[in-house]
Each structure stands twice: as C-alpha cells, then as structure tokens.
Amino acid sequence: MRESTVEISGAASRTAGTSQELAGWVQRADERSFVFLHSPPEPVAALVVCSPVGGEADTNRRREVLLARTLAERGIAVLRHDYRGTGNSDGEAPDLCFESMVEDTLAAVGLLSDRAGCVPAVLGTRLGALVAAAAVRAGEVAGLALWQPCRDGRSYYRELGLLRQMNKLAQQANRSVEETRSIKDELAAAGMIELAGYELHSRLYDSTIGLSLAELEPPAATPTLVIEFDAAEPSGWLRTTTERWRDGGVDCRAHAIPERENWWFANDLIAEEGRPLTRAVIDTTAEWLASLTRGTAEAAS
C-alpha cells in the first residue's frame, strides 16, 4: 500500500496474515469520518463498502468484516467507513441524509484510490446499495456490487413500518394492535421516530423516499453484481431492473441466495461465521471481484 496525503488520526493498526488493518478517523471540514482499512501488501484491486443504516448496519457489520478479511487475503484492499452521524464517526443522527452518505462514500473512494493505487469498486447493502449506486454515477469506480438492495425508498419504508408495528406489539403488555400513523405522518409531526431502539430522522427519510434503484443506473460498461437474499432466483423487479441496465450497456449480473436475513432482529442470536448465507454472499462477491481483476489483467496484456 502507498503512503497517502490524507492523514488518519487516532489510528491503530495490526497485522493480519500478510495484510494490515488500520482503523482511525479522517478529518473532513469540521467533522471526522471513521474509516477501517484492510491493506494487502500489493493490492490488485480495491473495494469501498457502503453499509446499511440502523439495525441493518449492526446485522451486516460482521459480514462486512469477514468479507474484508477474505478479500485482503486475496490481494484486494478494502475500506469500510461509517457515514457521518453513524457508528464511530462524528456527527449526529438527525444530520444523516442521502447526500452526506454519498459524499462520505466518494471521499472513501478517493482515499482508497490514493492508498491502494487502483480505482476501487463499491459494495452497498440495503439502503447502502442506493448510496453505492449513486456514488458510482458521481465518481470513477471499477464496479458496483449490491447485497439485498432496496428496490426504492417507498418499499423500504413500508417494510420498516411493518417491522415497527411488530416491535411495538412485542413491547405492549396487552399485545393489542394499536392504530398507528404512517412513518411519514409521524416524522412530519415529531421529526424522528423509533424503530427497535434506533432513531430514524426526517432528513434521511425525505432524502431517500423518492429514490429508486432502477433510476440509479450505473454508467455503461460498469461491471455490476446484484445479490438478492431469500430467493431461489432473482425476483421480478430485480430482473426488470438488471435487464434495463443491460440494455443501457451495463455489464450486469443478478444472483440469488435462498437463505434469509432478518435484518432488524437477527443480531441477538447468531454468529456470522457459521451461516451459509454469509459464506455464500462472501464467496460470490469475492469471485466476482477476482473476475474483474482477471479481466483487467487480460486487457492490460
């Protein structure tokens, strides 16, 4: 890995096999973003990870770490980062919005390009998939991978609304279904709602409700992998989206994994290491990234 002009402060590093893992903060204007860099000695490719938010981020976290360690062993540098207002980054939850998430991702792409000496691909999960897709349209990247992407803002918040009802029901002594207002109405009234102990603020909602993955089409020829969970084969909307992208010249593959993820309530029970879903999604992504690397090497020779 190369020296970078971007300083990572409060950092700690360790050696993991032949790779280095470095965690710390990057100063951006008056806030710091938390970054975690997995660096093989001579990177052949690179990947920036865009996490989901809320409970989904906690559920996906270990899987992202295991992916990063697997890729680093294969010579692929990985940068994971917390959006400002989430995780260990500065900023507060009310300030989190789609635009700041894309900005943070583009900054992470710049940092990793600088460190690894190659243009990274971007991986996004759930709401992070929309962020990754937007980042690919805004900056130079080598590819786009999506894990269980949100179809659009509306269906995402509809799901969250149902989960919220379930959670409320579990917390009520009389287990009765109370009449609740929609997420939209509650956010308009209070500016914030709660979902299983996580905050959702109106700024994030307003900035993502109108988004649709289909409309965030990557530039032509961008290698793209979409992995859908809990499906024997890619679902109808995903097939339509990827076909539309292919028509636009995107080098797009859709893949389905039958195992299910319980995004908001799974992290209580199961260690990721032994899960078939985790193994499958990591292997598929690693193979896809390796195929990109082979393609680049063949083109160069």
């Binding site: 409060g10 965690a23 939850a93 905050e199 260690a271």
Partner: protein
C-alpha cells in the same frame, strides 16, 4: 438524545488470549479524574458504538465527567478476531474485560468503573472478583440465571410452570401429536431437563436452608456478595415491560431472606427500576435514561468509594 461536545478518541487493538480486540478509547474532555470506565456490551452481535450508538453516547457523556472510557468489540464480534458460537451467561468474557482494563491502565488510570448490560453485566460482575481497582459498577438488566441463548426459553418457561402445568400440557393432544417432529422433541426435552434440574436444586436448597428460587445463579450471588463485602458501590438497573424477563426474575428474588441485603438502606449494592423497557436497549427513552443515570451516579459513587478508602 443528549449531545455533548465531541472529545478526542483513539482506536486500539488489545490482546485477549489468542484474540485481538478492537476498541475505541475516549479521552476525558474535562478535568481527568484518573478513573477509567469500561463499557461492556450485551450478548449481541452489535458494533462497538452500540445499538443506536448508546456506547458512544455513554462514552462521550462520561468523558465530559473526566473519565477515560473504553468500548470494544468482544472476541468474535465486529472488528475483533476470534469466534464463538453463542453467548453463555455463566461463561462471561473476563479475558476481554481484562484486556480493555489493561488499555486504560496504560493510559494512566488507577481505578475502574464497569458498566455492563445483560451479558456485559455478568462479565463486569465476574471480572470484578479478584481485582482491587474497581471503584464502582453499573449493572443494567443483570441476569440471575446461568444459561445460554439456546436454552433460555426452556429455562425461563420451566420456572414459570408448575409440575401440574407440565403434566397437563405434556398430555395434551397438541403436544403428543408434535412428538413426531424432531425439532419439537428437542424443545420438549430441553423443557423437561430444565424442570428436573430446577426441582433437584430446590430440594438441595431446602436441605441447606437457602430460600432463593432454584434457577438463581449461585455465581451471581457469590460475586455480588464479594462486591458487597468490599463495599464496591454497585447499582443494578432494571426496566419495566412485557419482555423484561430479568426484572420479573428479580421481583421474585426480592422476597428471598438470603438476599434481603440487596438494595437495603446503607448497603453498597442498590437497585433501581426504570418505568420503560430496558433489556437490549430496545427503547430510546431508556437508552437516554441509562446515560443520565450513569453520568449522575458514577461520579458520585467514585467519590464515595474514595472517601471510604
């Protein structure tokens, strides 16, 4: 949500046996007290910032009170190395706690406060035994049972059902019909084993004159008694709600003569119950309450302990 000025933070790796733990140390943003705080997460696979960043908020609030604070990923969780199959309440990660405490020692603190919820409370309590640097403990949703996640339901259910309930349910057509299903058979076996264990223990306790419910962890009684004997200020925090199983357990325990000292005036071990659900920090109001209690009670408890010393 309480927002305080962002203090300086330093990432770290700490050795815990064969594992390397990832964590973040928050430095005091006020006058340093020379006291470190270790935040111990519950038995969940969450990141070091905690659910809805409660560990980060707690760290920043305590840093403003002059504490050095560490939060970290247990081995097998988040960015730490290692692996484990599940969280077992009576096998707390005391090596992980010791590694985090060493990190604080290296930063120059001489005494420690431990803040843990659920599995983290058990780790704090077990880890406090044999240490002479514990200034106070805040134990959130302290579980009084020895169990693993996989046997939790059976253990709790068996203690809520009488032998008569067992017989009535065991002979019902619904249960008999399900016996053909191996998964159901395994679940019923767990229930029966838990009940037999509780009954055997009840008989032993009657013979020895101990009047606690049979599911009560002897380890917890021993460790809390040790903290009491050493006059370590300890606050146990519970919440109210339909899924607050550990509060229900504690309510049942309170009537035991053997534990009459728990929360008694003048005792170093006190108990508070919040009106909201608190288990797993699944409620933002209770997250804020825990931060408020910690920033109110810990500085006071540390001061008290210093006077006693």
């Amino acid at each position: 949500v309480t927002v305080v000025a962002t203090p300086f933070e330093q990432a770290f790796w700490a050795d815990a046996g064969p594992n390397r733990l990832f964590g973040v140390m928050t430095l005091p943003s006020g006058v340093a007290r020379g006291v470190g705080a270790v935040i111990l997460a519950g038995g969940r696979y969450e990141q070091s910032a905690g659910r809805n960043r409660i560990a980060r908020r707690l760290a920043h609030a305590l840093a403003a009170e002059g504490f050095h604070v560490v939060r970290f990923d247990y081995h097998g969780v988040g960015d730490s190395t290692g692996a484990h199959e599940e969280f077992v309440l009576h096998e707390p990660f005391t090596d992980d706690l010791a590694a985090a405490a060493s990190q604080l020692r290296r930063a120059g603190v001489s005494r420690l406060v431990l803040i843990g919820d659920c599995f983290g409370a058990r780790t704090a309590l077990a880890g406090s035994v044999g240490r002479d640097d514990i200034a106070a403990m805040l134990l959130v949703s302290l579980p009084w049972r020895d169990l693993a996640r996989s046997t939790r339901k059976a253990d709790i259910q068996s203690s809520r059902l009488s032998v008569g309930d067992y017989a009535k349910r065991g002979l019902s057509w619904r249960v008999v019909r399900k016996l053909a299903d191996p998964a159901a058979r395994r679940a019923y076996t767990k229930l029966v084993v838990a009940k037999v264990r509780h009954m055997a223990r009840r008989i032993r306790d009657r013979l020895s004159g101990l009047d606690v419910p049979p599911w009560t962890s002897r380890r917890v009684i021993g460790q809390l008694s040790a903290a009491r004997a050493r006059r370590i200020p300890t606050l146990i925090l519970y919440g109210r709600g339909p899924v607050e199983e550990y509060t229900t357990d504690f309510d049942e325990l309170r009537s035991a003569r053997a534990l009459a000292w728990l929360g008694a005036p003048g005792e170093s071990v006190q108990v508070e119950t919040l009106d909201q659900p608190i288990a797993g920090y699944r409620n933002i109001v209770s997250q804020d309450e825990v931060v408020a209690v910690a920033t109110r009670w810990l500085p006071q408890a540390v001061g008290q302990q210093q006077e006693v010393a």
